[in-house]
């Protein structure tokens, strides 16, 4: 072999391992995932109970806030005749964004054969389900007359009227409804083989019966797996366009209007990227929690945080570009209201929040260029929290800035949140955490059968 040939000989890249050596056997995977559910005494559940108590209290607060809104009307919020949308719509967009990432992780990464999704997709899908459900509540409580929400459905009625199919509200209704039910099916199908594992490892008759009933009698036969794989892949193929359409519709809620800062063709893709971004950040937070709480270091490794940080870094750049495109278009288009709005964003009453948004969404994630940051769970966790805050600020400001600074200067008016605004927002976070805690307490948080396959492929 010549010297040149030796130099150009490609060195086989070191295969990335997605599990630690201790977890590289089928039995170890089963043990790691089911132990928190079946050998509870080994875990201190103090943190769980503490979190459950706190999130339970916040959920109660959420119910109180919703009760007050239902009985006294949306006037209890800070909304006014100019800023007609407030926290509720921003929260809706934020939650539905988080609700996007589970399906993205499951479907898109499955189609792209990214093996690392195996240990994260289960709780990411659960997150999707809970977040999308919470998101669905917000437009209803914002309706003003929530008891008539079923008017959104086409049904034979004595008023002889039909839904207005051209309305973004109708699109929202169908998109969210389809998405929640679709996510439920997708999640449950993936869960069936694991419920069978739970059934077969059960220590009590009650557990065996309960898990057995939901496992539907799954026995892992060749026929079962073949049908499972066909269905799962087909659902993944449908999931990607559905999730993209869902957040595009949310973007069109704004873009279909004629307001400065909203009527932009960039909105649908910009919202989809934003959704993936905030959703990934939430998945990272949940992954860190599951890893720490259930000692899953063997299955959720540093390499997972590393790769998710890279995805967020990419998304942060796209977000930065989207913001810049908005500003450029406002200047280049030359419309006075548009230009005035951008100046208001940078210098107006909400400017500190806007600068915070830019820091959280665009500047902070640049730390992920450094490998040491990507490989530090604490650092990735902190940046992810910042991204979640930043994305919430972004949604709030999309609503506030435009509505507070529309075409007519005489109509300019700020939004001042009330205690009921805050309680609805923070309470919904409590509801989400509570649902997630219940989920990890009863259902294997990591997809065992997918990790088993991964472990088998990676070898011991």
């Amino acid at each position: 072999m010549s010297l040149a040939a030796i130099r150009t000989e490609p060195t086989p890249p070191e295969a990335v391992r997605w599990t630690l050596p201790g977890a590289r056997s089928l039995d170890a995977v089963n043990e790691l995932v089911t132990a928190p559910l079946y050998e509870r005494q080994l875990w201190s559940w103090k943190a769980w109970w503490l979190a459950a108590a706190l999130s339970g209290a916040l959920t109660a607060g959420f119910l109180v806030a919703v009760y007050v809104v239902f009985t006294r009307g949306i006037g209890v919020w800070g909304v006014n005749t100019s800023t007609v949308w407030g926290f509720a719509i921003a929260d809706y967009v934020w939650w539905i964004g988080i609700g996007n990432a589970g399906t993205l992780i499951s479907s898109m990464l499955l189609l792209m054969r990214q093996k690392w999704r195996a240990s994260t997709n289960r709780f990411a899908e659960a997150m999707t389900l809970f977040a999308a459900t919470i998101a669905g509540i917000f437009p209803i409580i914002h309706l003003g007359r929530p008891m008539y929400f079923y008017w959104l459905t086409p049904y034979p009625n004595t008023m002889t009227v039909w839904p207005q199919w051209r309305s973004a509200l109708i699109w929202d209704f169908w998109a969210i409804l389809s998405y929640i039910l679709f996510s439920l099916i997708f999640w449950y199908v993936g869960l069936i083989p694991d419920l069978a594992t739970m059934r077969d490892r059960a220590r009590s008759k009650f557990a065996a019966t309960a898990y057995g009933a939901f496992a539907l009698g799954w026995r892992g036969s060749a026929r079962h797996w073949q049908a499972y794989e066909t269905l799962h892949l087909a659902l993944a193929c449908l999931g990607v366009p559905l999730v993209v359409s869902l957040h595009s519709v949310v973007g069109m809620d704004f873009a279909a209007s004629l307001m400065p800062g909203w009527q932009e063709t960039i909105f649908p893709p910009y919202f989809v990227v934003g959704a993936m971004y905030s959703g990934f950040a939430m998945v990272v937070c949940l992954a860190a929690m599951v890893r720490w709480g259930f000692r899953q270091e063997g299955l959720i490794t540093i390499a997972h945080f590393d790769v998710m940080a890279k995805v967020m870094l990419m998304a942060s750049i796209v977000m930065g570009l989207s913001y810049a495109t908005e500003w450029f278009n406002a200047w280049y288009g030359g419309d006075r209201p548009d230009r005035s709005l951008v100046i208001f964003e940078f210098t107006g009453s909400y400017a500190p929040m806007f600068w915070a948004l830019l820091f959280c969404n665009v500047i902070a994630p640049q730390a992920f260029w450094i490998a040491a940051v990507r490989r530090s769970v604490v650092a990735v966790f902190v940046v992810s929290i910042l991204i979640n805050i930043g994305m919430w600020l972004e949604r709030i400001l999309i609503v506030w800035n435009t509505l507070s600074h529309g075409y007519l200067p005489s109509m300019w008016r700020l939004f001042i949140p009330t205690v009921w605004d805050w309680l609805t927002t923070i309470g919904s976070l409590g509801l989400f955490v509570l649902m997630f805690l219940v989920f990890v307490r009863f259902i294997p948080a990591i997809s065992m059968h997918e990790v088993r396959k991964l472990v088998d492929e990676e070898g011991s």
Partner: protein, 174 residues
């Protein structure tokens, strides 16, 4: 009543190899029970093709067409509403509902077909009572084949699978 022989393996590589050799030795493979899909063995078993995708496609397209039909009927025929001369059949605005409902119904139909093709739900299955079968959903691989007739053939089969690395071989009547 079918008499089966269940050969249980602890490692996927041995299981696949045993299944291959059993197939070429003309043992009649009936089924395989595994903790995750093992494509190589599935190919050895003569399985019917799944119709899930066809059903999903038909369900999705039909639902989308019906949803668009409903929109058209309500907006053009039953309750035409002229708002500033905009077209009654505003198809770009009408696309989302057929799209979303089409995907939803495709998923529901796919799930239903999946259950039918798998014969689920079926909470009681004869093999569940077999000792060691619970490992098929956890960490072991089970190959089911027709029990050879005659003591000599049976003994040869037992020796064959023991030689192939089976950790347990059980005779079952279902």
């Amino acid at each position: 009543m079918t008499a089966l022989l269940l050969a249980q393996f602890a490692e996927s590589a041995r299981f696949v190899e045993a299944a291959r050799r059993a197939k070429s030795a003309d043992y009649r493979l009936v089924d395989a029970f595994t903790p995750f899909p093992v494509q190589a063995v599935h190919e050895l078993l003569d399985q019917r093709r799944s119709h899930i995708r066809v059903v999903m496609f038909i369900a999705g397209i039909t639902t989308a067409a019906l949803a668009y039909g409903l929109e058209y009927f309500s907006a053009v025929i039953d309750y035409p509403y002229n708002s500033g001369g905009r077209p009654l059949d505003a198809w770009p605005a009408f696309m989302l509902v057929p799209f979303a409902t089409g995907i939803l119904l495709a998923a529901i139909a796919g799930f239903a077909t999946f259950l039918i093709e798998c014969g689920l739900p079926r909470l009681h299955y004869a093999l569940f009572a077999v000792e060691g079968f619970e490992h098929a959903s956890q960490d072991q691989f089970i190959l089911a084949l027709e029990k050879p007739a005659g003591d000599g053939e049976l003994q040869r089969a037992l020796d064959f699978f023991r030689g192939a690395g089976a950790v347990a071989i059980r005779e079952v009547d279902t």
